[in-house]
Amino acid sequence: MSSFKIQDCHKQTIKQICESFNNNPGELISILHKTQGEFGYLPEDIQREIAKNLNISVAKVYGVVTFYSFFTMTPKGRHAISVCMGTACYVRGAEKIVDELKEQLKIKVGGVTDDGKFSLDCLRCVGACGLAPVVLIGEKVYGRVEANQIKDILASYED
């Protein structure tokens, strides 16, 4: 679990987000969406703070966070890697690419490297099926990727 410790300034931001939705518990999903946009992820302390503002149980907030795959409790790496697992990419070997990335980075899907450099996720169809299989690193799109290219691609990211 993350070691995120909430600060007063974070509390202020969360308070503003919740207030912008009138502290309405019915807007929980929108509030979580906006908060994740602000912090990049939703660690425990942030969920507690949202629950406090909306006067609902933390268990309820956690229930929603874990239900929707869009929400994450782990921070993304500085370079977020997403592998397309849509049908076209899948049949053209996306799984091998994922396995190779897991092997090289020593992390699981949804994880982040110890140095915070890379994180690995899968997603469905980025709409570039002609380039299958597709890997995104940050904003950059890599097409027709083969497993043996992964090492070089990763090496091109320095910090």
Binding site: R48, I56, S57, V58, A59, K60, T66, F67, Y68
Partner: protein, 587 residues
């Protein structure tokens, strides 16, 4: 409201518009099997996630089968509740649920009381067509001092979630994750002990399987009973005698005080005492504290904390420690009767027997699961030795009696032992909502006014409504009293005080429906208000049958103060009979 007609299994039935097929069928005596569905009629709360699909029925003209618990009747509807198609679907649904459920029924503590097991019986499941190497969901087991969670056995009926959030407003549990890994859990899937759980145990009382079960110390009790170096004594809470008989087929509301005492003696307890003795003691301490605060308040002391809140219910104590940390100095500091009994037993009584406290084992039989947690609290231990060693529930006592082949219904009535078995009618009503405050009023009135009560029964304090208020005339001084049972009502009452809606001198709160008589350690009642009512009446019958009905008239309590404690709220009483509360961080 508009009426509609439909046909169920060739029987015509007329129902209000908005009635579900399940309820319409029930009206004509057809019991459609359910699993997740639960109706808490007296609370107006239904658990109806429509998730299990066991209750499906065939509706003419409709392509798919309909879940009867969540499908409303329509005019002219033709329903079949047991066609071959329906039965096959139910069997398939159940097999799918069972394919991800442990098959350890032989050793499961819910065996024989499990809805899932009964359904498998009813639908004639003889084989679970498991796919080889099929995925199974497994979770970490979570054992707290009061209840255990084994989520491998969870069928996601979400009854516990409804009780925890909608009825008790505790908010410890929520459905988390999705798909195969979905489960009901505390936030961040932490242990219950780290969550805002109050251990009221109402979730255990509605769980249809063995996913939520009480923490069970009966084997340790049996071990202590066979240890010749130990003196083992037992105390029984007031509510136990009004419900224990149900486990032996007796009608709800049958009082089995005498048989219970006989059974405990047969089980081998050295002395059979009564928590009622300690309840009388509680009134002496809590009543004195109440009078002290009111007298100071009426004398113009603005610092005094009012209303005073009762502190007998351990789930309620946990609730305010979690939810109202700014009010920790408001509740009475008096310990609960269970703990007062333990403290006196391991000092006064152990001295009387000339034995060390370590050689005296105090067992309590409680209608409650939170008592299991309470007796393990550090502040109720001396050098690691707890005042109350083991707390077992009414249901667990019934199991022990059955295990020992005791023919309960044929037992003669026996009397509690002296001195800690002697009690008044004021003590027995602790078992019902409103009882503690009525007992306190009986004593406080006489001590305050110096007058004798003409009428001992305070009908205005009795009843089963969730929140009740009354004003008692203390010879010219009106004393305002509030009463709530179930934690959701407690929250409403406290929020009402904060907002200035209510103004009370004293408040009684109990966590469970009807008070302790509806506790989670009692024979399961699944929210049946008739059962609660029958137990409620039994408690007041026992009170009315007693010669002494005011705590301060208990001769053994008078003797205890004279020989040992001095006077109520003395230094010794403070040390042994009072406690303090801690802020608990809400997760």
């Amino acid at each position: 409201m508009e009426k509609i007609k439909l046909t169920i299994d060739n029987i015509e039935v007329e129902v209000q518009n908005g009635t579900t097929i399940y309820h319409a069928a029930k009206k004509i005596g057809i019991d459609i099997p359910v699993l997740c569905y639960m109706n808490l009629e007296h609370l107006n709360i239904e658990n109806r996630p429509g998730g299990c699909r066991i209750c499906v029925v065939e509706v003419e003209g409709r392509r798919n089968l309909a879940p009867s618990c969540s499908t409303n009747c329509t005019e002219g509807m033709v329903v079949k509740t047991h066609s071959l198609r329906v039965l096959n679907a139910r069997k398939t649904v159940l097999e799918l649920i069972l394919s991800d459920h442990p098959t350890e029924c032989l050793v499961c503590s819910s065996s024989g009381k499990c809805d899932l097991q009964s359904l498998a019986q009813k639908l004639g499941i003889r084989e679970i067509h498991a796919v080889e190497n099929a995925e199974r969901s497994t979770y970490r087991k979570d054992c707290s001092p009061a209840l255990n969670r084994d989520m491998d056995k969870c069928v996601m009926c979400r009854r516990c979630e409804t009780i925890c959030n909608d009825v008790q407003t505790v908010g410890a549990l929520s459905a988390v994750n999705r798909g195969f890994m979905s489960v009901v859990a505390p936030a961040f899937e932490q242990d219950l002990i780290d969550s805002p759980c109050t251990f009221c145990g109402q979730c255990v009382a509605v769980c249809p399987t063995g996913a939520l079960t009480p923490f069970d110390d009966t084997s340790k009790v049996l071990k202590a009973l066979t240890d010749p170096s130990k003196t083992v004594i037992v105390q029984t809470a007031p509510a136990v005698r009004a419900a224990l008989g149900e486990e032996f087929g007796l009608t709800p509301g049958t009082l089995v005080t005498g048989k219970m005492v006989a059974a405990l003696r047969t089980l081998g307890f050295d002395k059979v005492f009564d928590t009622d003795f300690a309840a009388d003691l509680t009134i002496m301490e809590e009543g004195t504290e109440l009078l002290d605060r009111i007298t100071r308040y009426l004398g113009g002391d603005k610092e005094v904390k009012l209303p005073i809140l009762t502190s007998c219910c351990p789930a309620w104590v946990n609730f305010f420690e979690h939810n109202y940390p700014c009010m920790l100095d408001v509740p009475s500091t008096a310990r609960s009767p269970q703990q007062m009994f333990g403290a006196i037993a391991k000092t006064y009584y152990a001295d009387m027997l000339k034995i060390k406290r370590e050689d005296l084992v105090v067992v309590s039989v409680m209608p409650c699961l939170a008592k299991k947690y309470e007796c393990q609290r550090d502040e109720f231990k001396v050098d690691g030795n707890p005042d109350v060693d083991f707390s077992i529930s009414t249901r667990e006592l019934a199991s022990l009696i059955k295990m020992a082949n005791i023919n309960f219904n044929n037992l003669p009535d026996e009397e509690f032992d002296s001195p800690m078995g002697e009690s008044t009618g004021a003590a027995v009503i602790f078992g019902a909502t409103g009882g503690v405050i009525e007992a306190a009023v009986r004593t406080a009135y006489e001590l305050q006014t110096g007058l004798k009560l003409n009428k001992i029964d305070f009908e205005e304090l009795r009843g089963l409504e969730g929140i009740r208020t009354a004003t008692i005339d203390f010879n010219g001084t009106p004393i305002h009293i509030g009463i709530a049972h179930q934690l959701g009502n407690a929250r409403k009452l406290l929020d009402g005080i904060r907002s200035g809606l209510y103004n009370f001198h004293a408040i009684e709160i109990m966590a469970c429906p009807g008070g302790c008589i509806g506790g989670a350690g009692q024979p399961l009642h699944f929210g049946n208000s008739d059962v609660i009512k029958a137990r409620f009446d039994a408690i007041y019958r026992e009170d009315a049958s007693k010669t002494l009905r005011k705590s301060h008239e208990n001769p053994y309590i008078i003797k205890l103060y004279k020989e040992f404690l001095g006077h109520p709220m003395s230094e010794k009483a403070h040390h042994l009979l009072h406690t303090h509360y801690f802020e608990k961080n809400k997760i």
